[in-house]
Symmetry: C2
Subunit: 119 residues, 2 copies
């Protein structure tokens, strides 16, 4: 079977699961992990769990909807990602300072760190 793998999609799913996965039931977690992260086929998971392929499919869809619902309400993945992006900028400025000795890099670091404080 040919699957088109979208890395952004995988990253997005990983982040949502990393942030909100613990709000799923143990069964939901087990099935979702198996299909989405361990890349098992719905048939394999269905057999293991003693439910239908459709049941597996529905459970994965339901989990996706729940996880996305939490993010829609709380926006914590977005908030954390913004912070991480700004921290990456700080690291870049520190590296640039090391290479060039340009002190304005450190001013920018101070500025960015204050921006993060306001998030």
């Amino acid at each position: 079977m040919c699957r088109v793998i979208d890395m952004n999609d995988i990253l997005e799913r990983s982040l949502l699961y990393d942030f909100y996965g613990e709000l799923l039931t143990d069964r939901q977690k087990k099935v979702y992990q198996a299909v989405v992260f361990d890349d098992l086929s719905p048939s394999e998971v269905a057999e293991e769990e003693g439910i239908s392929r459709q049941g597996v499919h529905d459970m994965v869809r339901r989990c996706e909807k729940l996880l996305q619902g939490y993010e829609d309400k709380l926006g914590l993945v977005a908030r954390f990602s913004q912070t991480k992006d700004l921290v990456a900028q700080i690291r870049q400025q520190a590296e640039l300072f090391r290479k060039t000795g340009d002190v304005s890099c450190v001013s920018r670091i101070e500025h960015i760190s204050m921006e993060i404080g306001e998030l």
Copy 2:
């Protein structure tokens, strides 16, 4: 009435509400905000909402339990606080560099920013 105000407690409640408040119902949010943040008495809120003082008290307790439950499961307030603490350290190092010109501050900034990347 004399109330002992614990600032850490207020901060903790604010953070929990800031992170997970949107998972409460509109009614829960309204009552919780009125009592906890607007500092209205349970009697005032009870009258406004048309419920008993005990009802208000129970709802506030229930909200606290829910918010703390989300944090116990997800730990996102703790994760975010760790990040903020490290960012504050970056800001301090940048200020120290501005005052002393000590380039080791920038190495420390680079180190801390990598630490944040691993959170």
